[in-house]
Symmetry: C2
Subunit: 109 residues, 2 copies
């Protein structure tokens, strides 16, 4: 996140991307989020890679290496645990965003 605005959405973003795409590699996630948000949200690699490792260690993701165009890529995929985690974390985030919208849309009197 190069937004410094909000911390705590990187994990749910990763979970969402993998839930939709099935399989992605880190560098691809950075670009995908840039596209999806028209540059509004810019994931930094310094945040992304440690988070991917953490999710892998926690058993939410698993990894497979693949050679594409003479380049080594590290593909991530949700485990079963990761899939149910994705569901709950995304619901939780959606609820939070609704609540925030409620505050921002609030008009006094």
């Amino acid at each position: 996140m190069t937004n410094k605005l909000i911390q705590g959405v990187l994990q749910p973003i990763i979970l969402k991307l993998l839930a939709e795409e099935g399989e992605m590699y880190g560098y691809e996630m950075v670009q995908r989020v840039r596209e999806l948000t028209a540059g509004n949200i810019e994931i930094t690699e310094g945040a992304l890679y440690p988070t991917l490792h953490k999710l892998e260690v926690a058993g939410q993701l698993n990894v497979s290496f693949r050679q594409v165009h003479n380049r080594q890529r590290k593909y991530y995929r949700l485990t079963e645990a990761g899939q149910s985690m994705a569901v709950s974390r995304l619901e939780e985030l959606a609820g939070f965003l609704r609540a925030m919208q409620g505050v921002l849309n609030w008009k006094n009197v």
Copy 2:
């Protein structure tokens, strides 16, 4: 924020409340956010008071003490600088929330 989900929205929330209400005291903000979000967002005093002090020192808020029902209250109000800060920070946050919604609503093919 007792959500641990998201960090960075406390300041904009304070700015929004004061922009709408004109004047509020800290304890009131905690309850107001609880009401507005149906308990979804629970501001903690440990986060709130230091943030109010910081905004005051930075010249975004000013303070007036008042005695209500035999209780000392510390009312906060936006300064002029605070008002323009509120506008820009709230626009920024709204943009971020839109971007996040875009990610959450994204469906692959």
